[in-house]
């Protein structure tokens, strides 16, 4: 064996994201489209948009993270990669975490990278958009790991996408709350809520891989 299975799962997830044409760009399109629908729904007053803009982006980010989640582990189940993982010495939780991290790099980080543009369009003050995008990247990581638990649990279910949403959305609540609070006062330095956001993401990173591993063992049976 040349490469460790954790590393190869990581590389494979990155490769898959770019293999299917615009695969990795689709969530970005969905994210931008969902955010752009908001002014049409609530009106174009600057003050109103400025007040709700950061929150709208959190909601759009949460929904966008779910768009690609369904296929996260299904392909590995179908092509037998999961069975091979189970035969290696590497812990399945580490492989699942590596795969989810790669998926976040391909489909989650681009979302955080375009939040400055979307934020400016939603009248968020220019000096706030860059610290905000760091918060979106951090919170998005937690979304992807909880979503990954849903994806692993529903790997054997056909058309499990909506089920993932129902399972994962309650688990998104703390991240959405801490994320929104962290953005309320970015101008005056790092607010304590940003630390809560980081803590909730760390919690997701610590707990979700073990739940994913248990769920993937079930899917492989």
């Amino acid at each position: 064996m040349t490469a460790s299975p954790i590393l190869s799962a990581f590389r494979q997830a990155l490769g898959e994201a770019w293999a299917g044409g615009a695969g990795a760009l689709l969530p970005v399109g969905f994210f931008a489209g969902a955010a752009m629908l908001v002014p049409f729904g609530i009106g174009h007053e600057d003050a109103q948009l400025r007040a709700i803009g950061p929150g709208i982006l959190w909601v759009a980010l949460a929904l966008s993270s779910l768009v690609t989640m369904e296929r996260l582990f299904q392909a590995d189940l179908e092509d037998g990669a999961l069975d091979l993982w189970l035969q290696t010495d590497a812990p399945l939780s580490a492989i699942a975490a590596g795969k989810t991290l790669a998926h976040w790099l391909a489909a989650g980080l681009p979302l955080a990278l375009i939040t400055p543009v979307l934020g400016l369009m939603l009248q968020v003050p220019p000096e706030d958009v860059l610290p905000a995008s760091a918060a979106y990247a951090l919170g998005g990581l937690a979304f992807f790991f909880w979503g990954g638990v849903g994806a692993a649990l529903t790997a054997t279910v056909r058309r499990g996408g909506l089920l993932i949403a129902l399972i994962a959305l309650p688990l998104y609540v703390p991240t959405a709350i801490f994320g929104a609070l962290a953005l309320q006062s970015t101008a005056s330095g790092l607010p304590p809520e940003a630390l809560y956001l980081a803590a909730s993401t760390l919690f997701a990173l610590a707990v979700a891989p073990f739940a994913m591993a248990a769920a993937l063992r079930l899917a492989a049976d």
Binding site: V149, L153, T154, T156, V157, G160, L163, L166, I167, L169, P170, L171, V173, P174, I177, F178, A180, L181, E193, Y196, S200, F203, V207, A208, A211, A214, A215, L218, D221
Partner: protein, 241 residues
């Protein structure tokens, strides 16, 4: 304790004997608390007659949370020891807990309209937390329903129940922080420092009655599940010849 009830035959005999008593006790206790609520206790000083809904709302709130803990405990026992009855219990508890959660939300809403002047108050942390709990129940039941075998439903459900429970304190904490920033001072709190004994005693009896009812309903659902399995096994055996 676990070992004793893990045997389905012993469970069926035990539950058959206990069940009618549980239903009878629950009925008497709930009827007593409702009779007190509607005919005996004086109208609350500030809220008037609307406070009477408390005698349904508070037991429902208590059971929405304790049933979820029960769901977790059963899932945990099943995950570690693989006792089939623990999974049967988890499967049976979920819809009962979801129903009590829905009752808690509905009665809270009905109480809130005359008291707060609104059906829904986002700055009340308990309402929001219970709403998230309701979604946790829905996700659990939907996941079980989507699995094609009983064994898979049990495993997936157990994993999700455990993930859900470790998240509950964090969800509660985050909702508390979130609401404390938007808190309006005019909200009248139900749980004042002192509650009159004429309220407290029927309330506790009602809560106990609903708890017994929950256990009785769970036992009925579990017995149904065990019998369904036996019937299926019988059909299979006959089909095989």
């Amino acid at each position: 304790m676990i070992q004793v009830f893990a045997n389905p035959h012993r469970f069926m005999a035990f539950s058959k004997a206990v069940q009618p008593w549980l239903y009878a006790l629950a009925t008497v206790m709930i009827a007593y608390s409702l009779w007190q609520a509607f005919y005996v206790v004086a109208p609350e000083q500030v809220q008037g007659d609307s406070a009477r809904i408390l005698f349904i709302h508070v037991p429902a709130a208590w059971l929405s949370m304790s049933t979820y803990v029960g769901l977790f405990v059963c899932s945990f026992i099943w995950f570690i020891w693989r006792h089939e009855l623990a999974d049967t219990a988890a499967k049976s508890l979920a819809p009962i807990g979801a129903a009590y959660t829905a009752i808690c939300l509905a009665t809270g809403s009905i109480w809130g309209k005359p008291t707060w002047g609104t059906w829904w108050q986002w700055d009340d942390t308990r309402m929001v937390s219970v709403l998230v709990l309701f979604f946790l129940y829905l996700g659990y039941m939907a996941l079980r329903a989507a699995m094609d075998t009983r064994q898979k439903a049990a495993r997936a459900g157990a994993i999700l129940a455990m993930v859900g429970l470790v998240n509950v304190p964090i969800i509660k904490f985050s909702v508390d922080i979130w609401a404390s920033l938007h808190q309006s001072a005019s909200v009248i709190r139900m749980d004042g420092p002192s509650m009159d004994a004429s309220y407290l005693v029927p309330l506790l009896i009602g809560a106990l009655g609903h708890t017994l009812l929950m256990v009785a309903l769970a036992l009925t659902a579990m017995r149904t599940d065990v019998m369904t399995r036996r019937a299926n096994a019988l059909v299979l055996r006959q089909a095989v010849g």
